[in-house]
């Protein structure tokens, strides 16, 4: 019984790490830049399709495709930010929602056009597949890989935002735009980098998620977007720590709910979301 709980905790944790990668970018852009980007999962799909292309058509190894997925997600988000989104930073929430959801729909059609509506896959190398058994429980190798990758990325993110000059600029630009401008910080550029970073992480998340949830052209507006929005809301806008904790809590709740109370289905995480938001309306680590 206890040992089955360890298995559930581990699975939930790995799943949470995946949700964290997918959602942290949205949390940052929504919280810091006040921009409601419902097209966030489009970047994940860009990363996913990029991986599928280079792995299946060009024969790249799966691991080499991951950095490329990051770059592709980042490039797509930077492009959209420059062309479209930056004009909307001062627009109303509704306008932002409408434009970004339109972008998401268009991206779905574009993926369907170029890759057909068929589900895609990109197989990781054999040593990342399968599982090993420990006291009668199976631990998936790929899930361990997910958890480790997630932790490494979190470490890098926290370090670069809190310890480097680049991070200091971004934090300054976000905390007080006018003051930052007065000090000669290029706020526009800081926002662009932030956006690119968030899109890149989503792209990486999209590539990593192929092996767990598959990849279809409808990903930008699938249930994953709902999970991502829940993570952002529960974690608190703009908080990386919040997103991390919320993603892990939701990943574990979802997995535990399906294992112990399957008749509740996927409903449990919505209950948990409501409970958490009633307790802390601004999210676990939300400041505003």
């Amino acid at each position: 019984m206890l040992w089955s709980a360890v298995g559930v905790l581990f699975d939930g944790f790995a799943y949470g790490m995946l949700l964290f990668l997918l959602s942290v970018g949205l949390s940052v852009t929504l919280g810091m830049m006040n921009f409601v980007n419902l097209a966030h999962c489009t970047f994940a799909a860009v990363g996913g399709y990029c991986t599928v292309t280079v792995v299946n058509r060009l024969g790249w190894p799966f691991l080499a495709a991951l950095p490329l997925a990051f770059v592709a997600g980042a490039a797509a988000s930077v492009l959209l930010e420059r062309l479209l989104f930056r004009r909307l930073y001062r627009a109303t929430d509704l306008d932002q929602c409408l434009v970004t959801i339109g972008v998401a729909f268009m991206s779905i059609a574009a993926f369907a056009w170029f890759y057909s509506t068929e589900p895609q896959s990109a197989r990781p190398p054999e040593y990342l597949l399968g599982s090993f058994e420990l006291m009668g429980r199976n631990f998936g190798v790929y899930r361990i890989f997910l958890a480790v990758t997630g932790l490494v990325i979190t470490g890098l993110l926290v370090y670069s935002l809190e310890q480097t000059r680049f991070g200091a600029r971004i934090r300054a630009a976000v905390d007080n735009q006018r003051m930052a401008r007065g000090l000669g910080i290029d706020v526009d550029r800081a926002f662009l980098y932030t956006f690119g970073l968030g899109g890149g992480l989503a792209g990486l998340g999209g590539a990593l998620s192929i092996e767990v949830i598959g990849l279809e052209s409808t990903l930008p507006l699938s249930v994953i977007l709902v999970y991502v929005l829940i993570v952002v809301a529960v974690g608190g806008l703009g908080s990386i720590r919040g997103s991390l904790v919320a993603a892990i809590v939701l990943g574990i709740t979802d997995t535990a709910g399906k294992y112990y109370f399957p008749w509740l289905g996927a409903f449990l995480i919505y209950l948990v979301m409501v409970a958490l938001l009633m307790w802390r309306p601004l999210g676990l680590f939300g400041k505003r």
Binding site: E118, S121, W263
Partner: protein, 395 residues
């Protein structure tokens, strides 16, 4: 000059209206949204048939008119079917990927007296919605009850744990498999239903593994989910020698097999069509289909579309091009033909599809994963339709 132009235009308009030389087939399909892939496969199946057999039959030109329903939306499907009848003057309604859409459109067929061909929608009761309707796909009880009986008798399986998606067809499959399996002496160790939108299956699979049944029965819609479920099973280390995995055709469809890899080996499924089937008619169909679809292989949606067009062509031949619904349904009843899937027939009483159910096992053939047929249950009627018939006879 201008007058002449106007006159020509009017003449042309009249000309096309009175020249009843075309038969229009209206197809409301889910061309966008979650079920877009199913609709495009079905449409390609229909187009392949027209490419192979020409677009003229009984002296009439066949024209397809498609509309996008967008998803499971019965009201939209009904409205579009009405528009097709009233505005586009279609003679035949066809297509219908999803049960709710086909149910709603059945009313239109019944009231407007239009021949209707359901090319997928697999819930048994759909066929009762219009007396002018035939079905060329499959019904869930047809496959799942047959499978349940087979598993408990020839399959020598005594115990099963069912895992189905929590929606109409999932419930129907669960009921059909469970009731037939129990009636043939099997027992059910437990059951679980997945949410429709479920990205991660590991927890469900872990639970099944911990219960440790002799077999697991799966019903899950096509798309990305079968692969995700298959991967979860591989990761959890479900040993198929100890726990047999049973499923419908979607579980081991082409895309699912590709992304599952060798972990798909030994999964046993019951289904009515597979594109790898060796019969020459099928090989020809697949070749033509690849040309139409741009390299994509056909699936059960495609074969539903293909055979649906065949039924329309053969019916029109029998009625000599008459599209009156009474004449067409009369001609369609009892229609028999060789399809790429094998022999099939339109039941003269229930108007439903009668066909072989194939029991297949995933094996490696020349380095490729294939659903290899190892048992065939010939010419199965829809058991639920038969029960309805008996019920009606009693009254």
């Amino acid at each position: 000059m201008k007058k002449l132009l106007v006159a020509t235009a009017i003449a042309a308009a009249f000309g096309s209206a009175h020249a009843q030389q075309t038969v229009k087939i209206g197809m409301p399909l889910t061309l966008s949204g979650q079920f877009a892939d199913a609709a495009s496969q079905m449409l390609n199946g229909a187009k392949t048939y027209m490419k192979m057999h020409g677009d003229t039959v009984a002296g009439k030109k066949i024209e397809l008119i498609t509309k996008d329903v967008g998803g499971p939306a019965p009201d939209v499907a009904k409205r579009l079917s009405q528009e097709l009848v009233v505005r586009d003057n279609v003679d035949i309604l066809a297509g219908y990927v999803l049960t709710p859409n086909a149910m709603a459109a059945g009313d239109v067929s019944a009231e407007a007296k239009k021949f209707m061909v359901v090319m997928n929608a697999a819930t048994s009761v759909v066929i009762t919605k219009s007396p002018y309707m035939i079905r060329t796909s499959v019904t869930l009880p047809q496959v799942m009850e047959t499978f349940g009986t087979w598993a408990a008798t020839k399959g020598k399986i005594k115990q099963s744990y069912t895992m189905v998606t929590d929606y109409g067809p999932g419930h129907d499959s669960e009921n059909a498999f469970t009731s037939a399996f129990k009636a043939a002496g099997g027992n059910i160790a437990g059951s679980v239903r997945f949410p429709v939108a479920n990205p991660d299956f590991s927890a469900f699979v872990q639970r099944a593994k911990d219960i440790g049944p002799e077999s697991i029965f799966i019903f899950i819609p096509g798309g990305a989910q079968p692969a995700a479920l298959g991967k979860a099973m591989a990761e959890r280390g479900i040993d198929k020698q100890k726990t047999k995995v049973l499923g419908s055709g979607e579980t081991t469809a082409e895309a699912a097999l590709k992304s599952m890899g060798d972990t798909a080996l030994d999964i046993i499924t019951a289904w009515h069509y597979d594109y790898m089937s060796a019969n020459p008619l099928n090989q020809k169909f697949v070749k033509e289909y690849n040309a139409v679809s741009g390299g994509r292989n056909p699936d059960f949606f495609s074969i539903g579309g293909y055979d649906g067009m065949h039924a329309i062509y053969e019916t029109l031949k029998k009625t000599k091009g008459n599209t009156d619904a009474e004449a067409m349904i009369g001609a369609a009843k009892g229609l028999k033909w060789e399809s790429p899937r094998g022999p099939m027939m339109i039941d003269p009483e229930t108007r439903d599809v009668v066909q072989n159910v194939y029991i297949r096992r995933v094996q490696k053939v020349k380095g490729e994963l294939v659903n290899v047929v190892f048992d065939t249950i010939p010419m199965v009627k829809d058991p639920a339709g038969e029960r309805r018939k008996q019920g009606a006879a009693k009254k």
